[in-house]
């Protein structure tokens, strides 16, 4: 399991398929998506804390 790619593919925040992410996204694109997902997770966590 390639968690690096599957995390983005499994996220409801992105609609690209696993195949599209594997073939049409660069490593930089996936890294950027991780940063975005990290940010959303942090925001969700802070909202739940309130």
């Amino acid at each position: 399991m390639d968690w690096f790619i599957h995390r983005v593919a499994a996220s409801p925040r992105y609609s690209s398929s696993l195949k599209e992410i594997e073939d049409l996204w660069t490593l930089d694109d996936v890294l950027s998506a991780h940063i975005v997902l990290d940010m959303y997770e942090l925001l969700d966590f802070r909202c739940q804390e309130r």
Binding site: D2, F4, I5, P12, R13, Y14, S15, S16, E20, I21, E22, D23, L24, W25, T26, L27, D28, D29, V30, L31, S32, A33, V36
Partner: protein, 152 residues
């Protein structure tokens, strides 16, 4: 829910001229990119930080020592992976490097290993420059905070 603005539909390309031959490089997709980067990092080992340095000479030096350690299998691996995403200009337009006949490949690289390494370096730059720059930030120790002199 989807954010189409963040969804790439094509891979970036870059044109370079090496040894008088025009190359068009296309970035690897993330799956292949991950595989190639993993192999590269395994090979580079401690020189990863130098690879990630801002100094072009340091990068070339690190790549030079990396290439010196390449086994025939490593070379074949990188040649095969990057060859699939590299095209070279011929009389009738671009031709994929991986599709060249063994004779044409020999004519391109034989006695031109410097050009071959320049091509590999260009491929690495296109695919991993941002990542390596990030590694550089991580690998370089943070500069110590300035402290004012204190008397005992």
């Amino acid at each position: 829910m989807g954010y189409s603005v963040l969804m790439p539909t094509s891979l970036p390309t870059q044109e370079v001229t090496i040894g008088g031959v025009q190359f068009r490089l296309t970035a690897l997709g993330s799956k292949k990119g991950t595989r190639v980067l993993t192999r590269l990092l395994n090979l580079a080992g401690p020189s990863v930080e130098a690879l990630a340095g801002q100094d072009e000479r340091a990068v070339m030096s690190a790549l030079g020592s990396l290439f010196a350690r390449l086994s025939p299998g490593d070379l074949e691996f990188f040649d095969s992976e990057f060859g699939e995403t590299t095209e070279i200009m011929r009389e009738h337009g671009y031709v994929r490097l991986a599709k060249l006949s063994p004779l044409d490949r020999d004519a391109l690289w034989a006695a031109n290993f410097g050009d071959m390494f320049s091509w590999l370096k260009s491929c690495i730059d296109l695919n991993f420059a941002s990542f390596l720059a990030g590694v550089g930030d991580i690998a370089r120790p943070a500069s110590p905070a300035k402290t004012s002199a204190q008397s005992p």
